[in-house]
Amino acid sequence: METMGRPLRAGRAPAELMAVYAAEERSSLPGEEQPTEASGPEGSPGRAQSADEAEPDARFSFANERTFLAWSRTALALVVAGLGIIQLLPPFPGIPWGRHLVGIPLILLGSVVSVVSYLEWKSNQRALRRGEPLTRTRLPQVLAATVAVIALVAAALSVISAATRS
């Protein structure tokens, strides 16, 4: 079980550990909004922070990164689904553009999810640095609503093509 709030062990000074995290984050974590002070050489611990910002705990940064990667995989799955529906399914009888009506929105949704999840990652990193609450993510609602609509469209197309065939 993950213990995010695990207290530091006796014998290791907290400042020393935070300096380790901070130096690692500066040298290995991806580029994001920088503090307003001029940046020093990569990995140097001499960079001052502005008064209301602090280096976030490395575990929270990594968790944010993993969330973004999970959304990106979801986006790729949407693109594969759209492509597969159009290329691998036989056409709806009587509705030649039926597969495209279902598949193209899925592909577009994939790119939208990927871009929005990156913007949310950035905004979460900023909130972590400032110690503010994380911004409420809109992606689950967007995804659920859009997939539901597309599924209803697919069901309607199936019914219509079955009705026009008979």
Binding site: M4, R66, L83, Q87, Y118
Partner: protein, 116 residues
Amino acid sequence: MSPADDIEDTDPGLARERTELAWTRTAISFAAIGGVILRYEPAAGLPILALSVLIWELGRLARAPGRAGPAGPGGSAAAAWVRSRRLPLIAVAVTIVSLVALAIVLFGPPSRGLRL
């Protein structure tokens, strides 16, 4: 210092390992879609497969310094730039893949579907 102490200091909660695994899963997803696109347009599928290898390499940066390969300030300036922008790179890569899929669907030969 025991090995258990060491891990908890350099990788608390195994966050680094989990992050590297997340990058690996993402690389596999890109490879999967690269394989699908390869079947329709090899000129587009091969770069996506190459990209998936790059993404896997980027995942190794999550390791603690000293345990991975060249994760530090070594390497060319271009490599360092790619490392620092790796998350936006993923967002751009997914968008490009979706545009490639759109192009295949809109401009490729009409598909009659798989006959099973």
